[in-house]
């Protein structure tokens, strides 16, 4: 059973996204809504990772070796200024999108594994991840015209 690999992938992706929220929030501390929301979402991501951890451990016992190129590197540090903010939010968006699709995949696997407990976690967390994507889209929509067309 390879489910452990996707649980590991999602677990790490949630942890990395949490760290990235923290970094982006701090880097753009002069945008208080970005700072405060990123802080909240970082906490949320870490909670997701924590809820996944026992499942990852349990399924790891029955897993073969980890496949190549499992994890993706989507974040390489923050930028500054209005375009930097937009670009950093875009990084977060892509990372959240990775988590989003992983929740879908893990959710499907949970059905296959008849694992109601895991399914419960997926159902709760995937909604929050989906809302993160919506927030990022909303904030980027707001920032884009001013950053790309107006700012000198």
């Amino acid at each position: 059973m390879h489910l452990a690999h996707y649980l590991g992938l999602l677990h790490k992706a949630q942890e990395r996204l949490g760290d990235a929220y923290t970094e982006v929030g701090k880097a753009h501390g002069e945008e208080p809504d970005v700072f405060h929301t990123c802080e909240k979402l970082a906490t949320q991501c870490r909670a997701h990772a924590e809820r996944l951890a026992p499942f990852a451990r349990r399924y790891a016992e029955e897993a073969p070796g980890e496949p190549d190129r499992l994890h993706s590197e989507l974040f390489a540090g923050t930028r500054t200024g209005p375009i930097g903010l937009l670009r950093d939010l875009q990084d977060l968006y892509l990372m959240a999108a990775e988590c989003d699709i992983c929740w879908t995949v893990v959710g499907q696997a949970a059905y296959g594994a008849r694992d109601e407990d895991l399914l419960g976690v997926v159902k709760a967390c995937e909604q929050e991840t989906s809302m993160q994507l919506k927030w990022l889209r909303t904030r980027m929509k707001q920032a884009a015209p001013q950053a790309l067309v107006v700012a000198s």
Binding site: P82, M131, Q132, K134, R137, P145, V149, A151, S152
Partner: protein
């Protein structure tokens, strides 16, 4: 005669449930004038708070000499707030601006209108030239302009320039009211009527010190309380305000925990079966989710989070749950606090699940802080679209484009409107290059003032200020335009309960001062804004023409004004919607339990309450609201700033009954100045003991953002919390601290945090972490805090009472 400083609420006229509130006509005429001297009475309404009290302006020899409440008006039945009784005297203040000013180096010098407008227009045209030119413009208005002025500016901004960067001080006072109404009921618009006070059997005041902010509404409540079968009363406030002292149950909760309390109260109401199951089923969506979320808030847990006694929470739940005609009012204790929109929506939820809407006594006021805030929301000079239209609904944008005869994409609908704090951020970053501020004073009213001064003083930002006086904000402007004010211009405005009043011109403005409407129309003419056919975008020449145009814009929308005329308003206030089918207006909304949530009609497709993420039209449609209201649920989240070892206390800011906003007017009326001359800080006796602080001691209040000095009033604010009034800026600072440079240690907003609610974007003024340091002894003198209102000292303190004396005597005449 009544000293309305010593007794702001005047004599009681008790009445019982279902009876008509007795008339009591309050009058104040200055300088020994009597009614016999008055040559004409000009219809108007209050511009110094949001209650919308109708009054007549007394004129003798072409000068305002006083005011008298209008006996027949549906809102006040003749009563007048003390700020209105005395505040009009500021119109005559010798330091009124009489000529435009322009900046020459570090000075503002007098000039003529052509020169001043010429500078604004030259800069505007330069900025508009080129792609993205619209994005260099920001407009920051007020809650004190007239409907006609907001609508005109809305059209200039949205269809002339095409900028989404329009907002107002309304963001600080009323944005959450609008956000909560839209979220629950589909559109803005107060469900209730002030007459609900006459019928209710319980009143719940959620973070609303109505006794000091809307005194006439409080008089009505007190008159019910003194009459037969009085309504029960619940107050939610960390301070011992007059409301809290009057209430049967007072919950002095920890600042920032409103959402936890409401979740707990809703849980009690649901668990104890005090909800209207049929109403919930037929008229709401989301009950199961609400039950799921609030179930996590048993009373014991809520008591811990809010620092309340469990028994008191249970009593409050019982008062709410057992009432048959519940009236709620919500204001800044919720709107300017943590989780503002979420908590305000919970009050809506309480009324929805109990079926307490749309019938006499079962009312809800999501209050406004400022007198004409409602009109800014309706007319779209702020972050809303004219006619309570939906930014995300393409057909709504197309309607406006047809009405104004401009291309659809000229109207900036492709991004969310820019809220006030974001406008100042863009100005800080330099992409907004022209900021036009009308009738408000952000250099005292916004959070973290050191930052706001830095932004406004930046030479790269062209700042236009339109005001009556050289305010702290005007001092930093590049062009200052002298405006006419209440009594010197004609226009209309709308109260919390949707009552529209006219305020007619009574006298000429001083010097060369002009009505705000004339200034906007002059700008539009000089900018030569055009419609799609090359004709002038704006053809209006006066307020009545604008009002007629606005009626067309409002047609078919919730705020339908189409059957209102200036002539009709001169005989009394009318509640919108007022149409050919409902020519006398509409007392209550949602009497049939059908809400404005239809996807084609609603004002918003909704937001996530925790993050502010916008929901998409398709998702909204999929909910098939079908006229049902939304029950929004949200868990409690701690505030962005909580006390720490370094800053162990919580600061909350607020108002006194004697002052309005940054005292631009009330600080220039002698009776009001004498009543509340200087800032103060309220400290709980336990905290005072611990810190070795006594009444009148000079304290330094420090937050991570700044320092304020004020003298201590030891009184009934909850332990761990200190209170500062936010009214006091620098234009009249006693030690001569200059507004531009010099010391800035008087305005409460030196301390407040730059943070806002994710949905309403209203700044959080009620939760900042601070510490106190004693700087000097009192020398035996009490603090300058009034002894009336929230700052009242404990009984037996020996502090001389706040009185107005002969200069404040005003007759109150009963029936």
């Amino acid at each position: 005669m009544v000293d309305r400083i010593a007794d702001p609420w005047g004599p009681r006229t008790p009445y019982g449930p279902g009876e008509r509130w007795p008339v009591r006509v309050d009058t104040f005429l200055a300088d020994g004038h009597t009614e016999a001297d008055v040559q004409r009475w000009v219809p108007s309404a209050s511009i110094l708070h949001s209650n919308g009290d109708a009054m007549d302006i007394a004129v003798a020899d072409d000068r305002i000499v006083g005011v008298r409440g209008r006996a027949g008006d549906r809102i006040n039945h003749g009563r007048v707030d003390p700020k209105d009784l005395y505040g009009w005297q500021a119109n005559h203040s010798p330091d009124r601006l009489r000529r435009p000013l322009v900046r020459e180096g570090d000075r503002l010098v007098e000039t003529d209108w052509d020169t001043a407008m010429g500078r604004i227009v030259a800069r505007s045209k330069e900025l508009l030239d080129g792609p993205g030119g619209w994005g260099h413009f920001g407009f920051y208005t007020s809650g004190q302009l007239f409907l006609e002025e907001y609508y005109t500016l809305g059209v200039i901004g949205k269809a002339g320039i095409g900028t989404p960067h329009m907002d107002g001080n309304t963001r600080l006072c009323t944005a959450t009211a609008a956000a909560a109404l839209k979220a629950s009921f589909g559109t803005d618009g107060q469900p209730g009527s002030y007459t609900d006070v006459d019928h209710c059997d319980a009143i719940a005041l959620w973070g609303h010190n109505v006794a000091e902010t809307q005194t006439v509404l409080w008089m009505r409540m007190l008159d019910r309380r003194r009459g037969p079968n009085p309504p029960a009363m619940l107050a939610i406030d960390p301070r011992a305000t007059p409301v809290a002292r009057e209430a049967d149950v007072h919950l002095a909760l920890r600042n920032g925990t409103n959402q936890a309390l409401l979740n707990g109260l809703l849980r009690e109401v649901i668990h104890r079966g005090w909800y209207d199951e049929a109403y919930v089923r037929e008229h709401t969506l989301g009950f199961e989710e609400l039950c799921r979320v609030v179930d996590d808030y048993p009373v014991a847990k809520v008591a811990e989070i809010c620092d309340l006694r469990a028994a008191d929470i249970e009593r409050a739940a019982e008062l709410l749950g057992r009432s048959e005609r519940l009236l709620s009012t919500v204001l800044q204790g919720f709107y300017q606090s943590n989780q503002a929109t979420a908590a305000s929506c919970q009050v809506n939820n309480l009324h929805l699940i109990r079926g307490m809407l749309g019938r006499p006594g079962a009312g809800l006021y999501q209050m406004n802080g400022q007198p004409t805030a409602q009109n800014n929301r309706e007319c779209g000079a702020d972050g809303d679209l004219p006619g309570l239209r939906n930014w995300a609904n393409e057909e709504h944008i197309a309607e406006l484009a047809r009405l104004w005869n401009v291309e659809v994409d000229k109207i900036p609908h492709w991004a969310p409107p820019t809220h006030a704090m974001q406008i100042f951020r863009y100005a800080e970053q330099g992409s907004i290059k022209l900021l036009w501020i009308s009738a408000t004073n952000p250099a005292v009213s916004l959070p973290d003032l050191a930052r706001i001064r830095r932004i406004l003083a930046n030479p790269e930002l062209f700042v236009v200020v339109q005001d009556l006086f050289l305010t702290e904000t005007a001092e930093l402007a590049d062009v200052v335009l002298p405006a006419a004010t209440w009594g010197e211009k004609t226009g209309t405005f709308t109260s919390v309960d949707r009552t529209v009043h006219i305020s007619d011109k009574a006298v000429e403005p001083p010097g060369e001062a002009r009505p705000d409407l004339d200034i906007f129309l002059d700008y539009a003419r000089r900018m030569d804004f055009r419609d799609s056919d090359g004709g002038p975008l704006i053809t209006w020449t006066g307020p009545e023409e604008v009002f007629e145009a606005w009626k067309e814009c409002s047609r078919g929308r919730p705020c339908d004004y189409t059957a209102i005329t200036y002539d009709r308003l001169r005989t009394g206030g009318i509640q919108w919607p007022c149409t050919d089918e409902h020519p006398d207006g509409t007392e209550r909304l949602y009497t049939d339990g059908v809400f404005n949530t239809d996807p084609d009609y609603c004002e918003s497709y909704g937001h996530d309450l925790a993050t502010g993420a916008e929901l998409l039209p398709g998702e909204y449609r999929a909910k098939q609201p079908g006229g049902r209201a939304f029950l929004h649920a949200a868990p409690y989240q701690p505030s962005p700033e909580v006390p720490s070892g370094e800053f162990p206390l919580l600061l909350t800011t607020g108002r006194t009954v004697y002052q309005f906003h940054t005292r631009t007017k009330t600080g220039r009326a002698s009776q009001l100045v004498h009543a509340a001359p200087e800032s103060w800080v309220e400290v709980n006796p336990a905290d005072a003991d611990r810190l070795g602080v006594a009444e009148g001691d000079l304290l330094r209040i420090e937050s991570p953002r700044g320092v304020v000095r004020a003298r201590a009033r030891v009184c009934g604010v909850r332990p761990g919390v200190v209170f500062l009034p936010f009214h006091y800026g620098y234009w009249d600072a006693a030690d001569g601290a200059a507004p531009g440079d010099g010391r800035h240690d008087r305005a409460a907003n030196e301390l407040t945090i730059t943070a806002w609610d994710p949905v309403s974007k209203q700044p959080i003024f009620k939760v900042a972490a601070v510490r106190l340091v004693k700087e000097a002894d009192s020398g035996g003198r009490p603090s300058p805090a009034p002894t009336v209102g929230g700052s009242a000292p404990p009984e037996g303190s020996g502090i001389p009472a706040t009185v107005g004396g002969p200069a404040a005597e005003a007759p109150s005449r009963g029936e």
